[in-house]
């Protein structure tokens, strides 16, 4: 009898995009995954350190999906702004750890994320289908 193997590639390709959208919303609201406030880092004269050019939303997030893996991570692309041009990975490292306790993004899924429910639904669908196929094969 064949061993049952699950394949979440298509599901993870969809979920990767959904989770990135959730992270982008947190960034826009200035929140972390625990709904805490993101730190503000300003120059002494009060101007913000980073100007939002939309580049973060366009190029800052990446994901990779396979049958049994989903990885969501900041991209290594350089920010298009003037000056030192850190990568988005460097920017998120600052963003996630800059001042004191802040839950950041990427470390976990946001509070209230329905990913586990959707994952269970997909798992049930695949399991029932594959068990059914094996049962029928064995008649």
């Amino acid at each position: 009898m064949a061993q049952i193997k699950l394949d979440f590639r298509t599901f993870f390709n969809r979920e990767g995009r959904k989770i990135i959208t959730e992270y982008k919303k947190l960034i826009t609201k200035g929140r972390g995954t625990e709904q805490d406030d993101a730190p503000e880092k300003k120059y002494p004269n009060g101007k913000p350190w980073l100007v939002d050019t939309g580049a973060l939303r366009k190029d800052g997030f990446r994901f990779a999906a396979s049958a049994n893996r989903l990885i969501i991570f900041p991209s290594g692309v350089r920010h298009p702004g003037k000056g030192k041009r850190p990568t988005f990975r460097q920017l998120f490292r600052w963003h996630n750890t800059a001042s004191g306790r802040y839950s950041g993004v990427f470390h976990k899924l946001p509070v209230g994320s329905a990913f586990p429910d959707r994952f269970q639904e997909e798992a049930n669908k695949q399991l029932i289908k594959k068990v059914g196929i094996e049962l029928t094969r064995d008649i």
Binding site: Q3, I4, F8, I71, F106, Q120, G132, L135
Partner: protein, 156 residues
């Protein structure tokens, strides 16, 4: 709080999938056994027995109920690790955990309630609630639902 890296999140999902596959294979073994019993002991044809077993699996009845509960457990455990928890849930898991009332970032001034509460020593969640102002963002301080404060766990 330990930092969860991208690679640990990947591992948690892989582990959950391995557990689900193990459950599926256990269910398969059980389904074949139950079908064999129906054929041998109750005179069903293989096709009839297969239909009965498939119905049981679809409706999570009988032997399939345990399997369904196990799937729930695997996904729930994964979800606990993957999804961030708001502070009330953290507090329920560790009732002795103390939190500081930390002022949030606001454009105007902080309300007098939050200013006073942020100056107090760290307390547990029930201790903060016993003061009559709820927790930050509950809406019971003068700043109401505009409160931007947070409870920050006190590290030992």
């Amino acid at each position: 709080m330990p930092t969860i890296t991208g690679s640990k999140v990947k591992t948690l999902i892989e582990v959950a999938i391995l557990e689900l596959e193990a459950e599926a294979n256990a269910l398969m073994d059980k389904a074949l056994l139950e079908r064999a019993k129906l054929i041998a002991l109750e005179d069903y044809s293989p096709k009839q027995a297969t239909e009965i077993i498939e119905t049981a699996i679809l409706s999570s009845e009988g032997f399939a109920n345990t399997w369904n509960n196990n799937i729930d457990r695997v996904v729930r455990e994964m979800g606990k690790q993957l999804v961030a928890k708001p502070v009330r849930t953290l507090a329920m898991e560790d009732k002795a955990q103390k939190f500081d009332w930390v002022l949030g970032s606001v454009k105007s001034k902080h309300c007098p309630d939050c200013l006073r509460l942020s100056g107090m020593e760290a307390r547990t969640v029930p201790e903060w609630e016993s003061l009559g102002y709820g927790l930050p963002r509950d809406g019971l301080t003068k700043c109401n639902v505009g409160c931007r404060c947070m409870l920050s766990p006190l590290n030992p």
